[in-house]
Symmetry: C2
Subunit: 622 residues, 2 copies
C-alpha cells in the first residue's frame, strides 16, 4: 500500500489507523536494525501521533523556522522510534535514514531526540522535562509573541511521578495556557513494572484538573476519540488541556503487548511482529501548513548606557550591579526575558521587572520549571536570563545538564554565593555551584568581584553561546575597576605584578579583595605577590596563568566554595597536556559553616587575608 494523502482529501479513520500501524512497524524495524531502543513505548502512542499528524498538527517540515509552526515535544523521549517514524511519514527523513542510521555513530537519529534534528526543539530523555519546556514554549507564544501556534507534548505515565511535571501543571494552569496540550500515554507499564496508577485514568485526571487544566479521558487506540479530544484541546479557551489516553504498551504485537519485561528492547521476533501489524507500509502524510505568522522583531536601544559605579567610592553588591545592568541589557536588547524563582528582591532581578514588566516571568519557588521555561522561551528566539539563589540552582541541575544537550543559549544567574552571605547559614550558601556549572558541557562561568565588572559581564552573557553562568555576592564589595575597563570572557585581570614576583594570589568575587589586602600586607613583609582576578572561571585565561607560573612558580588560590571543582581546579586546567605546574596551595571552604557574620565566616573558613598571607608566606619559604 502506498497512499499519498493531502489535507484537502481528509483521511478516513481507517487510513489513520493504517498510518498508526506504519508507525508501529517502523518503530519495530528501526529498533531491530539498531538492536536497541524502545519499540513498545512507541507502539502505545502510535494512534495518538497518527491522529495528531494527520488532523491537528500544523507544521512545515521544510521550514522548521516558521513562526507559525506548532511545536511537538516528546517528553517521553525514549519513544524516539515513534517520533522518527512520524518524520518519515511526513517526508522529512527517508526510510533509509531511519533503518540504517538510528542509534548509530554520527547519526542525527539518536537514542533520545536532540536538536541535531531541525524539527526537535529540545533534547529529552530525562523524564519530566518535556512538559516544563513546553510550558515555556507556550508561554512565549501566548504572552511574548502572540503567535497562533500550539504546543503538543507527548508525556509518559511513569513521568507523572516527577515533581517537575506538577510544577509545569501549576504554572500552565495559572497562566491559562490554552495553546498547550499534554497528551498522556497511559500504557500502565513503566520500565521495571506497573506504574502507581495503572489504567486509573481518573487518578491522573483528578490531579491535573485540580491544577486548573481541562482534562479528557479517552481510549488511546480509538481514532475518533483521539480526534475529538484534540479538537477539544484546540478549542478550549482559558485552560490547557490534558488528553489522558488509556493505551497498551507494545500494542498490536501479542508477544509484547501489555507485558512486563518488554521495556527498552527490540521485539523478540521482528518479522512476526511486522506480519501481525499488517506489513510494511509507505503512507506519506501531507501535514497541515502553519498559518502565516511573523515572529516579532526585537529592537532595542543599543546605546543605552550601562550603570557606572565610582571606583573607590561606596562599596556596591555585585547582585545590585547585576540587577541594574540586567535592566539596561533589557533596554538595549528587546529579546531579553528574565525569569525569577520568587527571590527577585534578593537576586535584584526584580529591578528588570520595573522597567520591562512584560518580559519578566515570575516562576515562584519552582526551580526546575524556572529553567524549563527559560529553555522553552529560548527555543522561540528569546534571550532568557533565569536565576535564583546560587545554592538553589542545584535544584535544577538536571534541567541545566539537559539544556546543554539541547544546545540552548541560556543565561543563568545565582546570587548569595558562598559563606560570605553570613548569618543565614549553610542551607542558603552556594558552595558547590562552580563545580556544578563548570562541569556542564560547553558552559561559561563568570564570577565578578566588583560592580563595574559585573555591569560589563551581564550583557556579554547574551552574546555567548551555550549555558552562561554568573555568580554574584550578597554583601557590598569595594569598587576597584573604572567603568571603561574591559572584561573579555576568557580573560583575567592582573592587579599586582612585577618581574620578580615570588607568589601569585588568585581569587575571584569576595576573595579577590582578600587577596589584594593580603598582597599589601605581604609587600610590607618584603614578599612580592602577583594578584590575579579570575573573573572568567571558565574559560580560564590559560596564557596569563602559565606566565604567572613561569615567573612566580607558586600559586595560592582562594575561593568561597568547597575545595572540589571550583577555582583551584579551574586554574589547574591551564596546565594540562604536560605543561609544568606551579606549586599550589588551595584555600577553600573545607568545613561545614554555621551562622556568623560575613567576616567571621571568611575567617573561620580560612579564606580571608590572614589565611592568604600565612599560606603565601609558607609557600615562599618552602
Amino acid at each position: 500500500m502506498n497512499t499519498a494523502t493531502t489535507p484537502e482529501a481528509a483521511l478516513t479513520d481507517h487510513q489513520i489507523a493504517e498510518l498508526a500501524q506504519q508507525l508501529r512497524v517502523d518503530a519495530v524495524r528501526a529498533s531491530t536494525a539498531a538492536n536497541s531502543g524502545h519499540p513498545t513505548s512507541s507502539m502505545s502512542a502510535a494512534d495518538l501521533i497518527a491522529v495528531l499528524l494527520t488532523r491537528h498538527l500544523h507544521y512545515d517540515f521544510d521550514h522548521p523556522e516558521l513562526a507559525g509552526n506548532d511545536h511537538l515535544i516528546f517528553s517521553k523521549g525514549h519513544a524516539s522510534p515513534l517520533l522518527y517514524a512520524a518524520y518519515r511519514a511526513a517526508g522529512a527523513i527517508s526510510e533509509e535514514e531511519l533503518l540504517t542510521t538510528y542509534r548509530k555513530f554520527g547519526s542525527r537519529l539518536e537514542g533520545h531526540p536532540t536538536p541535531k534534528l531541525p524539527w526537535v526543539d529540545v533534547a529529552t530523555g530525562s523524564l519530566g522535562q518535556g512538559l516544563p519546556v513546553g510550558v515555556g514554549v507556550a508561554l512565549a507564544g501566548k504572552r511574548l509573541d502572540h503567535l497562533p501556534y500550539r504546543t503538543w507534548v507527548l508525556c509518559g505515565d511513569s513521568e507523572m511521578a516527577e515533581g517537575s511535571m506538577w510544577e509545569a501543571f501549576e504554572h500552565a494552569g495559572i497562566e491559562g495556557l490554552d495553546n498547550l496540550t499534554a497528551i498522556i500515554d497511559v500504557n500502565r507499564l513503566g520500565q521495571r513494572g506497573p506504574t502507581r496508577h495503572g489504567w486509573d485514568l481518573d487518578a491522573y485526571a483528578r490531579r491535573i484538573r485540580a491544577f486548573g487544566w481541562h482534562t479528557v479521558e479517552i481510549d488511546g487506540h480509538d481514532i475518533d476519540a483521539i480526534d475529538e479530544a484534540m479538537a477539544a484541546a484546540r478549542t478550549t479557551r482559558g485552560a490547557p488541556t490534558a488528553i489522558i489516553a488509556r493505551t497498551r504498551k507494545g500494542r498490536g504485537v501479542a508477544a509484547v503487548e501489555d507485558r512486563e519485561g518488554m521495556h527498552g528492547k527490540p521485539v523478540p521476533d521482528a518479522e512476526e511482529a511486522i506480519r501481525e501489524l499488517g506489513g510494511v507500509r509507505n503512507i506519506r502524510v501531507e501535514v497541515r501548513r502553519p498559518p502565516a505568522a511573523e515572529r516579532r522583531a526585537h529592537g532595542g536601544d543599543p546605546r543605552a548606557a550601562l550603570p557606572v559605579y565610582e571606583a573607590g567610592g561606596d562599596p556596591v553588591a555585585t547582585r545590585t550591579a547585576f540587577g541594574e545592568a540586567l535592566t539596561v541589557t533589557g533596554t538595549r536588547r528587546e529579546d531579553v526575558v528574565v525569569l525569577d524563582g520568587e527571590v527577585g528582591d534578593s537576586t535584584k532581578a526584580e529591578l528588570f521587572s520595573k522597567e520591562h514588566p512584560e518580559r519578566y516571568v515570575e516562576c515562584y519557588i519552582a526551580e526546575q520549571q524556572l529553567i524549563g521555561a527559560a529553555v522553552g522561551i529560548g527555543v522561540c528566539g528569546w534571550q532568557p536570563y533565569a536565576g535564583t539563589f546560587a545554592a538553589f540552582l542545584t535544584r535544577a541541575h538536571d534541567f541545566i545538564r539537559m539544556a546543554a544537550i539541547s544546545r540552548s543559549d541560556l543565561n543563568v544567574f545565582g546570587s548569595h554565593a558562598g559563606v560570605s552571605i553570613g548569618e543565614d547559614g549553610p542551607s542558603q550558601m552556594a558552595l558547590e555551584d562552580l563545580a556544578m556549572m563548570r562541569a556542564v558541557h560547553g558552559s561559561t562561568v563568570l564570577y565578578p568581584c566588583d560592580a563595574n565588572q559585573t555591569a560589563r559581564l551581564v550583557p556579554a552573557m547574551a552574546d555567548r553561546a551555550g549555558i552562561t553562568y554568573l555568580r554574584t555576592t550578597r554583601g557590598a564589595t569595594p569598587v576597584i575597576y573604572g567603568p571603561d575597563e574591559e572584561f573579555p570572557v576568557g580573560g583575567c585581570k592582573v592587579l599586582r605584578s612585577g618581574a620578580d614576583d615570588q607568589v601569585t594570589l588568585i581569587g575571584a568575587g569576595v576573595t579577590l579583595h582578600q587577596a589584594l589586602a593580603a598582597a599589601d600586607r605581604l609587600a610590607g613583609e618584603g614578599i612580592r605577590a602577583r594578584v590575579i582576578d579570575l573573573y572568567s572561571v571558565k574559560p580560564v585565561d590559560t596564557q596569563t596563568l602559565r606566565t604567572a607560573a613561569e615567573v612566580t612558580g607558586r600559586f595560592v588560590t582562594v575561593e568561597d566554595h568547597h575545595p572540589e571543582g571550583g577555582l583551584a581546579d579551574a586554574v589547574l586546567e591551564s596546565f594540562g597536556n604536560g605543561h609544568p605546574m606551579p606549586l599550589l596551595t588551595r584555600l577553600a571552604v573545607h568545613s561545614m559553616p554555621g551562622s556568623a557574620t560575613p567576616e567571621e565566616q571568611l575567617k573561620a573558613a580560612g579564606i580571608d587575608a590572614d589565611a592568604i598571607v600565612a599560606a603565601a608566606r609558607k609557600l615562599v619559604a618552602s
Copy 2:
C-alpha cells in the same frame, strides 16, 4: 505572667493563646538581638505551634533518642525563631541561649535549623524538602518499625510551588501514611510578594485532596479550630492529613502584619512590637511524654558471604555485582533499606527486593522524594541505600547537598556512568556526577572497575559516615581482582609498577581497563608505565599518588566524565600545600556525545587505549 503548666492540668484556649504570644515575642526578641532572621514568618504560625506543643505533640526533650517520640520538622526552616522559641517554652533551651546566641558564630541556633540541635531531625532552609523527608520518617514508623509516633511537618505556602512537595504528597497519599500531618501556614506572602494562591485555601485543598490526602481548612489563629484539626489528623485512618491554615504574616504587630516587604528582617520597632504582643512571658510547657516504644533491634548474619567472581573469567558488569553484593549486605545487616527510582532492573537494586522485599522502597521516578525518603528513613536509625541512573541523581542535587548539612549517613548509588553506556545517548549518560558528588561536603566517592572490587565496596559504604557515593557501569568489564583482595576507602591499587617507570596512567571504572591495555602496548614500545586504579576518588590516596609523581614525574589521567571536577581534579588534590606536581595530561569527555556503541564512544571521546598510548608517548617524549 509565669505559668508552669502540665498536661494533666490541660491548658485553656486562653493560656494557649498566651503561649502563642510568647512565641511571637521571643521570635521578635531573638531576631532583633541577632539583627537578622524571619520573625514575621514565625508569627504567622505561632498559634499552630502553640496548640501542637501543648495538646498534640508527644516528645521527651530530655531524651530525643526515644523511639516513641513524635517528629517535628520545620519544612519552612526560615521560621527558626518560632522553633527555637518553642524549644524555650518546652524548657529545652534557656532564654539566655535564645537571646544571646541565635545566628551568632559557633551557635547551635543557626539561621535555619540543623541537627546540631538534638531535637532537629534534618537541616531545612531549602524549601520543599521538609515534607519529602517527613514522608521518609513516617514511612519508617509505619512500614519498617511499626512505631506509634506521628510526624508533623510545618510547611510554608510559598514552597507549595516546589515539585518536590507534590512528589511527597503523591508518595504519602499512595502509602496512606496516616501518621503524617502537613501543617500549611498560608500567610499569603512569599519573600518578594503575594503567593500564587493568596488566601485561597481551597486551591491548596483541592490539589492535595486529589493526591489522596485528608484535608482540613481552618483559621490558623483560632485555637479551637487548630485543636480540632490536629485531633482529626491524629484519628484519621488510611490517609495523611493536611491542615491548611489561613494566617497573617507578622500577626499581632501592626507595623508588619500582612504587609509586603517585611520578609526576612527584624521588625522595625521591637519594643513597640513586644508591647503590642502583651510583653515578655515565661510560660513553661510540659510537653506530653511519648508512649513507651522500642525501636526494633537490627540483627543480621554478618557471616553471609559476598558474591565472588572468577578473576579472568567472564566479564561482569559492576552494576550486577553491586546488586548482588547489596543483597548480601542486606542479609548481613538488617538495618539496610534500599530505595529505587523505578529503574531497579537497570541499577540491579531490584535483586535486593527479591530477598528483602520488606526493606525495599519503590519511589518511582521521583528522585527528590527518593533521596528525601532515604534521609528520613536514615533519621530513624536505618542504613539507606538510594539510587537511580547516575545522570538522574542531578535531579536530587539539592537534596544531597542538604543531606550533608543534615549530617546524614546516606549511601547513594548511580549506574550507567559515562559515554560507555553506548547507544542511549547523552541524556542517559552521567558525565557530571563525579564533580557533583565530590563537591558535597564530607562525601566519599567510589568508582569500582570490576565485580570483586564492587562487592567489597558495597558493604563498606554503610560503615562510612556522611554521604557515600558508588558509581557503576552498564556494560560488563573484565574481572581483574581476586575475591580476597582488600579495597580500603581512601586507597588505590597500583597494578603495574617498576622503579624506573616513566609515566603513570590513572583510571577508574571502564577507563582502568583501557589504561591496562595501553600500558601493555606502551611496554611493547619500550615505555614503562605505572598503572593506578583510583577506585576511591574521594578521599584519594595522596601518598601513593605523590610517590608515583616522584618516580615518574608524568601523569595521564583518563576518565569517562567531563573534564571538570572528576578524576583528574581528584588526583591533583593530592598536590596541594605546595607539594611538587607532576606533568599531567588529562583525557576526558570534552565533546558532546551522541549515539554509538560503547567502543565507538570511548574512541570518539578520546578515552580509549589508543588515546592513552598517544598521550603517554607524547608526555614521555616532552
